[in-house]
Amino acid sequence: MTVTSQRVVTTRSARANAHIGRHAQTIAIAVVLVVLLIFFAFSADRFATTGNLLNLLRQIAPTLVVATAMTFVISTSGIDLSVGSTVALSGSLLAIVLQHGWNPTLALVAILALGALIGFVNGWFSSYQNIPPFIVTLAMLSIMRGTALRATEGYSTPIDGDLWIVQIGQGRIAGVPVPAILAVVVALVGWLVLTRTPFGRYVIGLGSNGESLRRTGVNTRKVGLTVYVLTGLAAAVAGVLIATRLSSGSSNAGSGFELEVITAVVLGGTSLFGGRASMLGTILGALTLGVIANGLVLLHVSPFYVQIVQGGILLLAIFANSKVWAKFGAIRK
């Protein structure tokens, strides 16, 4: 059979456009990060020191761990607002059960299981019952925060500094803080899963065109549920990181944490409408937020401004995401 010449041929430039379109925001955020690094290096004395940069990595570790999981959730066009409350609950309960003399390893496993369970509840309502995840996780935000407050009666619970578990938040390996190592490993595994496994492919497919994916025989509900289990688990890890770093479990930990995580993900170029994701972008987004927070403090700017700046960045990032970068490439939305 011969081929008619009338067919529309996809050109190399179409590919270039499509790829630039997909990565435009990742490139942009990388540029912003470099500019910020240079700016703070020159304006804040102690910014560009090894000690401060390692400290910065430790500071953003909880954000990066949860942002990695959140990238999966947002890729399915979902959202998880309950992560901040889960951080508070898991940190508080960890401190409480340790005070009751639990074995630290057992306590850790129990807390992580609890996080996964919270995620399972989120996922079951969102994915199997088709209730908008925004509402489900908003309700869970309230429930978990309330549970944390009830469990602690509002007081912080100290964690004994002699327990090995404290090393998760405070330890160093070859001078590098353990939380930083953990966060980088989690992000790399997340990147691998998102881009190189069938599950990652289905996550993107679910956000892109769930009905199409369902018709190919993929259990889309299970995929939709699993991503919330990931954020629940990641939030529990973050709760453990924060509580062990501070040697104290507080029911007020992680307030506004969900906003920070979602900002990091959106800033990295992952679309809130699903289907488009960049794990590298998420890493850069989390770094950028960390650099801004850390740099502003070193410049003796009131820490209250950090929150204002963060909200402004989120709004700007969503605006850029849906209005500016969408014009690059040929991705129709």
């Binding site: 081929v3 996809t10 590919r15 497919g205 065109n209 199409s212 018709r215 190919t216 289907g275 991705i331």
Partner: protein
Amino acid sequence: MTDQEAGRVDRVVMRDIRKRYGMVDALRGVTLRVGPGEVVGLVGDNAAGKSTLMKVLAGAVVPDSGEIVFDGRPVAFASPRDARELGIEMVYQDLALCDDIDVAGNLFLGREPRKAGGMMLDVRKMHADARRHLDALNIRIPLTDIPVGGLSGGQRQAVAIARAVTFGPKLLILDEPTAALAVAEVETVLELIKTVSAQGVSVILITHRLQDLFRVCDRLCVMYEGTLRADLDAQNTSLERLVSEIVAHDEGEKEGRRR
């Protein structure tokens, strides 16, 4: 129970299919047969029952009565999965592709080649297989690693059909594959239908573009208000005749079996 014709078994025979939705008689006893490698055009006005009939064949709708014989064996479908297992694939008008996933990814969505014990995608094999597959169907998409959202409408439709063909179907149902396509893109899709049927796959084509039917179809089946009004030979039928059958002008004594 099998329909023998010139010594070969029909690919599918639907006999006296009926379906009621409350007060609406969607299908009032439809009989349709399709031979191996045959391209049958299914036409009719809106609400004539084309889509319902095809959903019955694809297993998405369970009929009230009637029988389906596939490759000489009576079959009953409880779900689309049953129909797919027998080799019946339906390409829907929309909802076919994930725009953000590349061409190769869409072709193999849900059954990607894997490595490392099923843990990882075998991306290289996927692109190689996709290339081979597209070439075999004469589909001109030079790059398999661009998201399908960046393709033209005709290319997207071609990818959707190619995906259905990768399942190795015996019968392919296409619901309005050329609606909303530019002229050159329609050519792409029509050529593809010819290629697929030449490989022995039976095709049922639902379309409102009557001129397309004469290009690719062997037979034209006209539905009218839940019945099969006419079964015409595409070579010996004029466009005027076809139109009058669709709008049910009772000129002369047609074999319109209205009840």
